[in-house]
């Protein structure tokens, strides 16, 4: 079932993307050990939509992010704002998609001032004269809640939160249609992280852009995003609106994730039985087979993503036989 909406107003179309991580040695003799990371992933993000991608480390969410940014090779088709990879020059492609990464400290060249770094995208695409670029940088700093004078400071003089604001500002310089936020607040303290979440919301009001928000924290993704996809071992196991996935989780793995998040408000002694039951893994079975409390013989094949939403409601895809 082709679960992608008509091309129309889609900003990002990911169709049947898979990729292989080959531990390729250097030089002539390659010992290609192909371990598969992404397995036939497809999703779309509409205009001005915040899409959450959640999963544990190693589930391939960052790999998908990098694939969309064109930083790594992959099979399948990715179209951003109507432009397909490969058909258009890398530089032209970056005009429409930018990114914010996890560690704000190593995200900027330590030897260049904030202003210089933020001017790089403009210079790369030849937008505006140096004076105009300077003005644009100062304006952007204000937009992300920093004093314009920070343009002349060096990254090491700023706190983690401030640096992340600069990164967001830099990502917005080209006014891209899509921003990939890969664990944007994971490295920050909670109080600072919340300020950044607020920043995303205020910016979303002023300018329309879509965002693929990658995180391991389901609460944050639920708070910020319109639709959510849960990934496990390289494939999407559940995808739907934020409310549906968060309040009415169907896939056992999503339920396990939700139960495992320690909640400061819960009264019980916090030792809920984890919705998990270990069993020996079976080749070719559903990826979650060896941990799924409801696994049956049916689950020994890889299930398909099927829409399990009640009639009339938004689409809610689940990759599980049990339901």
């Amino acid at each position: 079932m082709d679960n992608t909406k008509p091309a129309g107003e889609d900003i990002l179309r990911v169709e049947h993307v898979s990729n292989y991580y080959s531990d390729n040695g250097l030089g002539i003799l390659r010992n290609r050990k192909r371990s598969q990371v992404l397995q036939d992933v497809s999703l779309t993000i509409g205009k001005d939509e915040f899409f959450g991608l959640v999963g544990e480390s190693g589930c391939g969410k960052s790999t998908l992010g990098n694939a969309i940014l064109g930083l790594i090779p992959y099979e399948g088709k990715i179209t951003v704002a109507g432009l397909e990879h490969g058909r258009v020059s890398r530089k032209e492609f970056t005009r429409h998609i930018q990114a914010v990464f996890q560690d704000p400290l190593s995200a900027m060249n330590p030897r260049r001032t904030i202003g210089d770094t933020m001017k790089e995208p403009l210079m790369a695409h030849g937008i505006g004269t140096p004076k105009e670029q300077e003005a644009a940088v100062r304006a952007m700093l204000e937009t992300v809640g920093l004093d314009a004078s920070y343009a002349d400071r060096y990254p090491r003089e700023l706190s983690g939160g401030q640096r992340q604001r600069v990164c967001i500002g830099a990502a917005l310089m080209l006014e891209p249609e899509l921003i990939i936020a890969d664990e944007a607040i994971s490295a920050l303290d909670v109080s600072v992280g919340s300020q950044i979440l607020n920043l995303f919301r205020t910016i979303d009001v002023e300018r329309d852009f879509s965002m693929l928000f990658i995180s391991h924290n389901l609460n944050v993704v639920y708070y910020l995003c319109d639709r959510i996809a849960v990934m496990y071992k390289g494939s999407i196991v559940e995808m739907g609106t934020a409310d549906a996935v968060y309040n009415d989780p169907m896939h056992p793995y999503t339920r396990l994730l939700l139960s495992a998040i320690p909640d400061y408000a819960s009264e019980d002694d916090g030792d809920r039985a984890l919705l998990e039951r270990f069993r020996p893994p079976v080749e070719g079975a559903c990826a979650f087979y060896h941990r799924c409390p409801h696994a049956t013989d049916k689950c020994k094949k890889v299930p398909e993503l099927r829409n399990k939403a009640y009639r009339g409601e938004e689409e809610h895809l689940v990759r599980c036989f049990y339901l």
Partner: protein, 323 residues
């Protein structure tokens, strides 16, 4: 009132900056650790929580030194203990596990030998065979499936979760009176974190080991700690039973922390977060460090650090609002 195992009195720690000047990283904090409890210390980066526990273990970096205060543990004052005595205590009566499982184990020594090392040091009476047997037994207890094989392998061959279990085994093999856990689960996935937290709880219950648990995540604190201290910029601002602190936070900082956690009912609304940013040791400090960000700052807050106020049994706060 349970027996006090460890009593920190007016501890003040100084740090020598790059340019040679000295600042107070921890300023006159006092607290006690009671036998059998799990005491949490919560605070954002730069609040001095790690420095405090490192001082307790005598593992401070070269540029950190004790300016004042005592740490009474049994009949020893851990601040002025001799290196020989320190070597007898560490690993035997006091032990520690860290946040980064990746780098905390010696990459070139087999797991079995590293876990057994505390026994070789502190229990000269045991033979190698006995030590290996105890290591095997403990590794099984901490939930490692194939302990025999794991003992012969090297750290880089283990996953993050498994490594943290090995650290816990190593730290509790001599049945220490206090186990210090410095953000042990921050670097782990949420499901692995759940397992490790329940393991720590079991160590506390079965071995009766008192645990000093450092974290910046209130959810984790609620999940595992009996009592908790809230620290901000080198000072303790509030202390009490976990439930009391989370249900009826007294200090403005604690309230701000709780409010900035995105929860189910805040979706669609802006988070009320604490303005400004965490001061670094070099920034000038008001007597009450939180004054600039408090929102309820009074004149007195800028003159003296508030006295300790007891709101309820075992729940105290340092804030002029309660004068």
């Amino acid at each position: 009132m349970k027996e006090t195992l460890l009593n920190v009195k007016h501890l003040t720690l100084g740090v020598t900056e790059r340019d040679g000047s000295v600042n107070k990283a921890v300023d006159d904090i006092s607290f006690e650790v009671r036998k059998g409890e799990i005491l949490g210390i919560v605070g954002e980066s730069g609040c001095g929580k790690s420095l405090t526990v490192m001082t307790l273990m005598g593992l401070m970096k070269d540029d950190v030194f004790v300016m004042d205060g005592q740490i009474l543990f049994g009949q020893d004052d851990l601040v002025r203990v001799t290196p020989e005595r320190r070597r007898q205590i560490n690993g035997n009566e006091l032990s520690i596990i860290y946040q980064e499982p990746m780098t905390s184990l010696n990459p070139l020594i087999k797991i079995g030998r590293q876990v057994g090392e505390p026994l070789r040091l502190h229990r000269k009476d045991l033979s190698d065979a006995e030590i290996d047997r105890m290591v095997l037994e403990l590794l099984t207890e901490v939930g490692i499936q194939n302990p025999g094989q794991i003992m012969k392998s090297y750290p880089h061959q283990l996953s993050g979760g498994m490594r943290q279990r090995v650290m816990i085994a190593m730290a509790s093999i001599c049945r220490p009176r206090i186990l210090v856990a410095d953000e042990p689960t921050t670097a782990l996935d949420v499901t692995t974190q759940a397992h490790v937290l329940s393991l720590l709880k079991r160590v506390n219950e079965e071995f009766g080991t008192t645990i000093l648990f450092i974290s910046h995540d209130l959810g984790v604190i609620n999940r595992i700690c009996d009592r908790v201290l809230i620290m901000y910029a080198g000072k303790i601002v509030e202390r009490g039973r976990t439930r009391d602190i989370l249900n009826h936070p007294a200090h403005q900082y604690t309230k701000g922390l709780i409010r900035s956690i995105p929860t189910r009912d805040q979706k669609g609304k802006d988070l009320i977060c604490i303005p400004g940013r965490v001061p670094s040791t070099m920034d000038p400090r008001e007597p009450c460090p939180f004054a600039p960000r408090c929102g309820h700052t009074m004149e007195v807050c800028r003159q003296t650090f508030p006295e300790c106020r007891e709101l309820a049994k075992d729940h105290i706060v340092y804030c002029h609002m309660f004068d």
